[in-house]
Subunit: 317 residues, 2 copies
C-alpha cells in the first residue's frame, strides 16, 4: 500500500497522475483538513473534495478544484441574496457538501462521512482525513488573523504573512487508520503540496509526524518549489513566514526528520547538487504537470524511484 500525504491543487494534480498508473486499491491518501471551513452553514473540506473528485474522475482540470462542467446557479442566487460568494461552490459540488454536512449532523465522524461519500462515488482508494478533530490553519496578517480560505481565496493571498499556526493541532489525534497505514506502507509520498499549509497541518498532528519518523517505509517528497519560487499559489510567502528558505533546501528542512528521497525539478539540478544532507537521496525530474501525460510521467518516475529504493533495501549488497 502506497500512502500519500496531500493537500492543495499541486497535490490533486499529482493524485491525477497516480490514478493513471497505480491501482486505486493500492492507494491510501492522508489529506489536509486545515483549510476546512463552514460555508453557507455547511461543512466544506476543499482538500478532501479535490482528492475524492480526482479519484472519481470528476475533478475539473481547468480550475483544478471542484467538479468538471459544474454550474454556479446557487452561488449566483446567494449573491442576489447578498450572502458572501467569494468561496466558489458549484451546483454539483454543493451536493457533496450537503451530504457531508448531513452525515456530520447525524453524528458520523469526518472519516466515516468521507468513506460514505467515496463509496457513493465508487472511489476505491482509501481517503482519510488527517484528523477527526478540527485543526484550523490560521494566517496572521496586518489586516488580522485570517482563516486559510479568507487569506487564500477571499483576499487573493495578497496580504503579507506574519505567521502561520494550526489551532487545535496540539490536542488533535490522527484519524483512525492514518498511523497504521503509514507504519505498514510499502512507501510514503508527500505530494508536491505546499509544505507550510498543505502538508504542514498534517505534520502538526504530533502522532502523524512521529509515525513518519518511525515507519520502516521509504518516505519521498516531491518539491513544489522550483527555481526558488512556488509552482503555484502562496507557498513561498507561507514558507518564509515559517522560517523556511524558499528553495528545495526549505522543502528538505520542513521534512528533515523523516525524509529519505527528494524529487526536485530538473531546473533545480544545481541546487540539488549543493544540498548537503547525508542519507538523503535527491533525484531530478520534470515536476511541472501541465497535461495528463505530465502527471502520469511524474507519478511513474516517483514510483520507479521508490521501487529501486525498496529493491536496494532488500538487497544491500
Amino acid at each position: 500500500m502506497i500512502v500519500v500525504l496531500t493537500g492543495g491543487t499541486g497535490g490533486a494534480k499529482f493524485v491525477e497522475g497516480l490514478r493513471q498508473v497505480v491501482s486505486a486499491h493500492d492507494l491510501t491518501f492522508v489529506v489536509n483538513t486545515g483549510d476546512d471551513l463552514e460555508w453557507w452553514g455547511l461543512y466544506v473540506s476543499p482538500d478532501l473534495d479535490s482528492i475524492t473528485y480526482a479519484m472519481a474522475g470528476l475533478l475539473s482540470k481547468e480550475r483544478g478544484w471542484g467538479v468538471k462542467g459544474d454550474t454556479f446557479f446557487c452561488l449566483q442566487a446567494m449573491g442576489e441574496l447578498a450572502e458572501p460568494i467569494w468561496f466558489n461552490v458549484g451546483d454539483r459540488d454543493l451536493a457533496v457538501h450537503l451530504l457531508r454536512s448531513k452525515y456530520l449532523a447525524q453524528g458520523k465522524t469526518l472519516t466515516e462521512a468521507t468513506t460514505a461519500i467515496c463509496n457513493k462515488l465508487a472511489v476505491q482508494a482509501r481517503i482519510l482525513p488527517m484528523s477527526n478533530s478540527r485543526v484550523e490553519t490560521r494566517v496572521d496578517t496586518p489586516v488580522g488573523d485570517l482563516s486559510f480560505q479568507e487569506y487564500f481565496v477571499q483576499r487573493w493571498y495578497q496580504d503579507p504573512v506574519k505567521s502561520v499556526r494550526f489551532t487545535g493541532a496540539t490536542d488533535a489525534e490522527p484519524a483512525p487508520g492514518v498511523v497504521d497505514s503509514i507504519m505498514s506502507a510499502s512507501a510514503v509520498i508527500l505530494a508536491p503540496s505546499n509544505p507550510a499549509t498543505s502538508i504542514g497541518p498534517i505534520l502538526a498532528v504530533a502522532d502523524i509526524r512521529e509515525a513518519l519518523r518511525q515507519t520502516p517505509a521509504t518516505v519521498a517528497a516531491i518539491s513544489p518549489i522550483v527555481n526558488d519560487a512556488a509552482v503555484s499559489g502562496p507557498a513561498a510567502a507561507l514558507m518564509a513566514a515559517q522560517g523556511l528558505p524558499v528553495s528545495i533546501a526549505g522543502v528538505v528542512k520542513a521534512y528533515e526528520d523523516f525524509l529519505d528521497i527528494l524529487i526536485a525539478d530538473v531546473r533545480d539540478l544545481e541546487a540539488a547538487n549543493k544540498l548537503d544532507r547525508p542519507g538523503l537521496r535527491v533525484h531530478c525530474a520534470n515536476t511541472i504537470m501541465r497535461t495528463a501525460d505530465d502527471k502520469a510521467k511524474l507519478a511513474r518516475t516517483v514510483l520507479a524511484l521508490l521501487s529501486a529504493e525498496n529493491a536496494r533495501a532488500a538487497d544491500p549488497s
Copy 2:
C-alpha cells in the same frame, strides 16, 4: 391591512393576483407550515417559499412552485450520489433553503428567518409563518403514516387517506404578529387553498382559530372546490377524510364558526343558492386562475366584495 391565510399552489396563485392590485405594504400573509420538511439536512418550508417567491415576482408560473427559470443540477448530482430526489429543489431555490437553515441553526425563529429572507428579496408584504413551533401534517394511509410531502409529492397522492392529523398543533402558539394582525385587520381572506391540509393546519393552532372568531374584520374565503371536485391536487380526498363534504358546503363547514363571505365559482351557482347558512353571504365569480389577468380579476372581485361589506357595516342603513 388585509390578512390572507394561505398555503399550497392555489393560495400562491391568488397571492400573485393580489400582488397586482394591492400595495404590498397593505398585505399580511399567515402561512401554513404543516408541509415543512427536512430535506438533504436543510429545513424546507414550501408554502413560505411559494408566497415569498410570489411576492418577489420570482415564482415559476409553469410549475406553480419554486423559482422561475431555475435549474436542477444539484438535484441531479444528489441523484448520482444515490440520495433521494423525489422532492424537487432547484439550484436557485436551494439558496433560500440554505439561508433559512443557517438562520435557524443560529437560533433565529422561523418568523425572524422569514423576515430576513423577505428583506433580502425586497418583499414589502409581511409574511408570517403560522407558528414558530413545529406542527406537522400527517396523512394516515394503508401504506403507513406519511408526512404531507411523502403523501403528496413522493407518492403522487395515490394512497387512500384514512385520516389527517396535525402533530404538535395542540401545544403550538401562533407566531408573533399572527393574532394581532387578524384582530386589527381591515379584512381577512382565506385563499383558495385546500381547507384540509393548507388552511387546516393554521386553524389547528387554537389561538388562531379563536382570533378568526373574535376579529371584528369580515372574513372571506374563496372556495378551492368547483363542481364537487378540487380545482387541483388532493383536496377532495383529504376533505373527505376529515368528514367534510367535497363541495362548497364542505368548505363552508370547515370554516363555519367564523366565515362571513364565501366566494364560490360561477359553476356552483346552483349549489350556492342551496346553501342554507343564515348570516353567510355567498358570491359567485370565476375562480379558475389560468392567466395573470384571471388572478388579478379574482383578487379585484374579492377586494370589491370586502369593500362593499365594510361600507355596509359602517352604514347599516
